[in-house]
Symmetry: C2
Subunit: 155 residues, 2 copies
Amino acid sequence: MSSQAEIVLKPIGVVKTAAIDDEVKDKTRTSQIIINSELAEALEGIAGFSHLLVLFWLHEISDEQRKTWKVHPRGRRDLPLLGVFATRTMLRPNPLGLTMVELVKAEGNVLTVRGLDAFDGTPVIDIKPFDSWDTAKDARVPTWWTKLESEKAQS
Amino acid sequence: MSSQAEIVLKPIGVVKTAAIDDEVKDKTRTSQIIINSELAEALEGIAGFSHLLVLFWLHEISDEQRKTWKVHPRGRRDLPLLGVFATRTMLRPNPLGLTMVELVKAEGNVLTVRGLDAFDGTPVIDIKPFDSWDTAKDARVPTWWTKLESEKAQS
């Protein structure tokens, strides 16, 4: 297969949340992931993990927005203009969201999770168990990133 | 958009490595990610991060293999039969790999990274900077997982 070939994914489920707008960023909120019922058995054993990595499709990003190569993080012109791969912007060639969440409950084809910053109706693409090899101790991040994080902590 | 609609991705680059077979699991090895040249500027600022999350397409998984709902982890029949979403198996409805890597060097459209367990020629889908909010302290994992991890550490 050429590295340029198209890749076709199908949603495995959908996000259900009462949160709107910026409320989805509230890490204490819970939301639900409704897995397609024919995939329910693919969840067996998931309750053994306290945390999951959720991959979702940012379905509101347009084809035009996918052609963005540079952004000011969070639209802030006081911060440097950066390549999209150096940020977590939604404007990416392949607009996939990735969030680590806490698994609160797994029941049938429904997962209740805490900390998923995805809107109601967002298609879910994959769910992976989280383990310590997904982490790095003392990861280094740039100054602009630290600045945004400290502002967020104070707000 | 219906949550069942198809999603089309295009590779942003490709993995280049001399590692073959199980050598790709060697976390001390470096490999390269060759980003499509027209996307080179989307990497600007990436060198500010020590670690990245790399999403790649497991292009050798067949359409038939994507219909696997349950597996024994690493094919081991002494371990429980589990849903694919409770494991990191490549056999998933949407066969995407996700690995945290160390960024060794960023030069032009080429990233040199350490710890990427992807074969030569693997299409890369997205690259995201890694930060501490991608981690959980004291994440709980099941017994079968700990068993496999401790065996790996001894090998």
